[in-house]
């Protein structure tokens, strides 16, 4: 039980760190493309860690119902893991096709 709770806290803490990094990145990054970087990577990883932690916590009172709920949560993780980076990829693609140049330190515009 203590081991399970420790694992849950570890996962939730990891997710918190990733989400925090993502939030700071969206505000602090200089341009469109670099802002999409924290969205695509850190938020996906954050939601993976968070939901995995919650699914483990849900297994604390083990029964078939809680196992089913936990499996559904892991399915959500799976689909977010597939779709969120793909969405980011296609947004970047659209930005490049629309002619937006990446930011560079020498050329401020």
């Amino acid at each position: 039980m203590i081991i399970l709770n420790a694992l849950v806290i570890l996962f939730l803490g990891t997710g918190l760190v990733f989400f925090l990094g993502g939030a700071v990145g969206i505000i602090r990054m200089p341009d469109f493309y670099s802002r999409l970087h924290p969205v695509g990577k850190l938020d996906t990883l954050g939601i993976m860690a968070m939901v995995t932690g919650l699914a483990l916590y849900n297994l604390g009172h083990f029964s078939w119902e809680t196992l089913l709920v936990s499996l559904k949560m892991m399915l959500i993780v799976f689909f977010v893991f597939l779709s969120s980076p793909t969405a980011t990829h296609s947004i970047v693609d659209a930005g490049i096709r629309a002619g937006l140049n990446p930011w560079s330190k020498s050329r401020k515009d």
């Binding site: 597939l82 793909t86 990829h89 296609s90 693609d93 096709r97």
Partner: protein, 275 residues
């Protein structure tokens, strides 16, 4: 002209706002809406229809007539979109583009080429389209799950939030996703324009047909309990089954109309390329 329109809008808005003062308070148990039929629905819906989801019971059984014409409105939207946008004339174009997939070389033709039907050549839209291998692969993985979930939403509308409209919109969205991630021609080769039109019609006819069937069995229009005469269930369960039937009809119609509207708008009615 614009100013007159603005004045009319402001006047109408003011009248409407003034009229809202006469509305009963929100959630007032003594208001006409809450004293007339709502208590009956809330207290008896589960026994009478065997559907745990009250909203579905009211929407698809007690007030089924409303829902049928909502479906008809959606069908009308699809037909209007078709009639307004569809054009059969050829687009004035600079040429056709064909990509040789293994080398990535794009060939430009002045006249319409005869593209060999092989996996090494693909026709491109006039606007340059890159290899979207990632998006295509992921959408290919996700599409069956989206469609399966939308069918679940339709079929499970009696027990949980959902139903024909929501499930149909999700299924239509999966067709739109296919048109975006591959191209319009791929999506249309899977579900053609005629099939879409037929499906939209079929959904409405399924809804109305269940109503007429109830009439033929001796009841009133859309009185599903009469279906118990031809189904091996008792009257309450027949009402639940009738609801599933009309939800399926709604789902089919909404799916087809979503796809028709998207295809016509994205390709400006030409159905050859777009987005």
């Amino acid at each position: 002209m614009k100013r007159i329109g603005l004045i009319v809008v402001i006047l109408c808005g003011a009248v409407l706002l003034y009229a809202t003062r006469d509305f009963p308070a929100w959630g007032d148990p003594a208001s006409p809406a809450s004293t007339h039929v709502s208590p009956h629905y809330i207290e008896h819906a589960l026994q009478e229809t065997e559907v745990p989801n009250l909203v579905t019971a009211v929407l698809a059984d007690y007030r089924s007539y409303d829902t049928m014409f909502e479906t008809l409105v959606i069908f009308g939207a699809g037909v209007a979109c078709f009639l307004l946008l569809r054009s059969f004339g050829a687009r004035r174009r600079e040429g056709w583009y064909v990509r040789h997939i293994p080398t990535g070389v794009v060939i430009h033709f002045r006249k319409r080429p005869r593209i060999p039907h092989s996996r090494f050549f693909e026709r491109l839209d006039t606007e340059w389209v890159p290899h979207d291998l990632i998006i295509m692969t992921i959408c290919r993985i996700l599409l069956p799950f989206i469609q399966l979930f939308s069918l679940y939403v339709v079929a499970h509308g009696d027990f949980s939030p959902g139903g024909g409209f929501q499930g149909g919109v999700m299924f239509g969205a999966s067709l739109v996703l296919m048109a975006i991630s591959f191209d319009l021609r791929t999506a249309l080769s899977r579900v053609g324009e005629r099939i879409l039109a037929l499906l939209a019609f079929l959904g409405v006819v399924l809804y109305g047909g269940i109503g007429v069937l109830c009439m033929l069995l001796g009841g009133e229009f859309l009185d599903y309990s009469e279906l118990a005469k031809i189904l091996p269930v008792h009257a309450e369960e027949a009402r639940a089954l009738g609801m599933i039937g009309v939800e399926v009809g709604v789902g089919i119609a909404v799916t087809a109309v979503m796809a028709v509207i998207y295809v016509n708008i994205a390709s400006a009615g030409r159905h050859d390329e777009g987005l």
